[in-house]
């Protein structure tokens, strides 16, 4: 009996460690000075790292979690002396917030409407939503790109925000949840004279909190990590969200990378810690009935 319990527990503990370790590494290294970061991880053999293992003219990394001289210099520089990074962080905010707010308002309304419409072909509308949801970003970028041309917004963030606002994931998740909503409640409300709007606001909406919260976490995770759309639509380098620019920081400004990363990670971690309970609760019934 004991042996049986050991394998699952060991696997979970090991995987949890693997999941968290890269994040711990980033946090720990953010307290190193930029000189130490470069001497540890550069592939060139430098004066400062000549003692490390090297072979074939390549300096190999000196992996470490504990800074030799812990310092907050990187953070100071980031917050007081790096308008570029702060601006790109703000760009990310500008790209995420409208999508999040818009989806959390529009998707429940649409799911509620779709669930109550009586039309022979309404399931084909839902089928269209599912097909769009199951297509990779690269396919969806083609229609997005064409519309952005029609509306003449290719140079603006709207080219990214507007399509994301209408991405069908939200309607899908919430409709699955609504299918389990007791019909009797709605009927009782209708008998009491509540119209569709009143029953939505007082009966349906309060019951959708956890699925909407789950949706918000998923949308935040996806849009805070936006890359593909930004690469296609954003031409000006300082117009990029930080999620895209971090790739260039590794080679361009390695000393700053860890502090910038932590700075960008914190909002994501907060959203996750606030919303993780809803994540499993809110999606609970929805995944089963598609």
């Amino acid at each position: 009996m004991r042996n049986r319990r050991v394998i699952p527990i060991a696997s979970i503990v090991l995987s949890a460690a693997v999941s968290v370790f890269p994040i711990v590494f980033i946090f720990a290294n953010s307290f190193m000075g930029s000189g130490e970061i470069i001497s540890r991880y550069a592939s060139e053999i430098l004066e400062s790292n000549a003692g490390d293992f090297a072979s074939h003219g390549i300096h190999f990394v000196r992996f470490g979690l504990l800074p030799q001289k812990p310092t907050l210099d990187q953070y100071k520089e980031l917050l007081l002396d790096s308008p570029g990074y702060l601006r790109m962080f703000w760009n990310s905010v500008l790209l995420v917030v409208p999508v999040l707010l818009g989806q959390c308002v529009l998707a429940p309304l649409a799911a509620y409407g779709l669930e109550n419409i009586r039309w022979k072909y309404k399931e084909s509308i839902f089928f269209m939503y599912i097909i769009v949801m199951l297509m990779p970003t690269q396919i969806l970028l083609v229609p997005n790109f064409i519309v952005a041309g029609w509306l003449n917004i290719r140079e603006s963030y709207l080219a990214i925000i507007l399509p994301s606002l209408f991405h069908p994931l939200g309607v899908f998740l919430i409709r699955q949840q609504l299918k389990n909503f007791p019909k009797e409640c709605m009927e009782a409300a209708a008998l009491d004279g509540a119209g569709p709007w009143k029953s939505y606001w007082y009966i349906v909406r309060p019951n959708l909190h956890s699925v909407v919260a789950a949706l918000a976490v998923l949308l935040f995770a996806d849009n805070w990590n936006i890359v593909d759309q930004a690469v296609v639509f954003i031409k000006n380098i300082y117009g990029n969200p930080l999620s895209v620019y971090l790739g260039s920081v590794v080679t361009g400004d390695p000393g700053m990378f860890f502090a910038v990363s932590v700075f960008y990670l914190i909002p994501a971690l907060l959203v996750f810690l606030l919303g993780q309970d809803y994540l499993t609760e809110g999606i609970a019934l929805s995944s089963l009935k598609s």
């Binding site: 049986r4 319990r5 699952p8 979970i12 503990v13 995987s15 949890a16 693997v18 999941s19 890269p22 590494f25 980033i26 991880y41 592939s43 293992f53 072979s55 074939h56 390549i58 190999f60 990394v61 992996f63 998707a107 649409a110 409407g113 419409i117 269209m128 769009v132 297509m135 990779p136 690269q138 396919i139 083609v142 229609p143 790109f145 519309v147 507007l162 209408f166 309607v171 569709p196 709007w197 976490v217 995770a221 990590n225 890359v227 593909d228 930080l242 999620s243 895209v244 971090l246 790739g247 590794v250 860890f258 990363s261 932590v262 996750f272 993780q276 994540l279 019934l285 995944s287 089963l288």
Partner: protein
């Protein structure tokens, strides 16, 4: 009552118009772009663009690399996440560990790219260890394992998404089914095959569908690690498409999108059909 039902259209309308305007209509319209010769003369050329795209060697190798990546990462990702979800199911005080397991879901790909470099790059920790263990440098420098690196980096982030889905599927299975089986004297393995596997199969199909879509998101990891122009070993359809955007070649772009759409559409049909067969078999 009739009038009341019509009002519900108003609730749906904003979203429906958005989906039609930003996705469905322009996608149908792009079929027109795929069938003409160029944006100037707009002469109808039939399937010529499709033939050109399919015979383009860059497109072929990109498609092959994408197939390899999807074929490797989807099954491994599903197996790992199913196994971990089952382990979690049996744990009573697993909550903090589960939180740690799900954490990668929200971590932006760019923020930990330096970790992967330090671990897996040509001067990274792994190579250092292998060299010190006596593996010849020439062999390591061949660089043919870059696809493997991608699979690891991708799975680290995306297994958590599957765990969320599997886990909620598992929580939905009534505990009494297990108690019933236990009363009948069934062992763990029979409980798994007769209860878990049966009631988890709809979830498994959802996970499969989502895994296929999500596997295209590896573009983020490739872009972070290798920039816009990675080595030919990992040049995928995502890069091919991106280059057509940059050169504004609507003909190549639309025809490639339609080819991809048809292939994925067929894969979805197969999965939907299999799901129907499986659920029918259990009923």
């Amino acid at each position: 009552m009739k009038k009341r039902a019509k009002i519900y259209w108003l609730f749906l309308l904003p979203s429906l118009l958005g989906v039609l305007l930003f996705y469905a209509v322009p996608f149908l319209f792009s079929l027109y772009y795929a069938l003409i010769d160029n944006m100037g003369s707009q002469r109808f050329v039939g399937l010529q663009n499709f033939i050109d795209t399919l015979s383009n060697s860059l497109f072929q190798s990109a498609a092959l690399n994408t197939c390899i990546f999807v074929g490797v990462s989807v099954p491994i990702g599903m197996a790992v996440s199913l196994f971990l979800s089952l382990c979690l199911q049996g744990m009573k005080r697993g909550r903090p560990l589960a939180t740690m397991l799900l954490l990668p879901l929200v971590v932006p790909s760019g923020t930990i790219v330096y970790f992967w470099k330090v671990l897996l790059d040509s001067n990274g920790l792994l190579q250092k260890w292998l060299l010190q263990a006596g593996v010849p440098h020439e062999w390591l420098a061949q660089n043919s394992w870059v696809m493997g690196v991608l699979v690891v980096v991708f799975l680290w982030k995306n297994v958590s998404y599957n765990i969320v889905l599997f886990w909620s599927g598992l929580n939905w299975i009534p505990q009494t089914y297990y108690e019933q089986m236990a009363l009948e004297g069934a062992g763990k393995w029979r409980q798994f095959t007769n209860v878990t596997w049966v009631y988890l199969s709809p979830t498994t199909f959802v996970v499969l569908l989502m895994s296929i879509v999500n596997s295209f998101k590896v573009f983020k990891e490739v872009y972070m690690l290798y920039g816009a122009y990675p080595s030919p070993d990992i040049y995928m359809l995502q890069h091919y498409m991106n280059n057509q955007f940059l050169s504004l070649n609507m003909q190549k772009l639309s025809s490639a999108a339609y080819i991809l759409f048809l292939v994925i559409g067929m894969a979805l049909l197969v999965v939907f059909y299999a799901q129907k067969r499986v659920t029918d078999a259990y009923q």
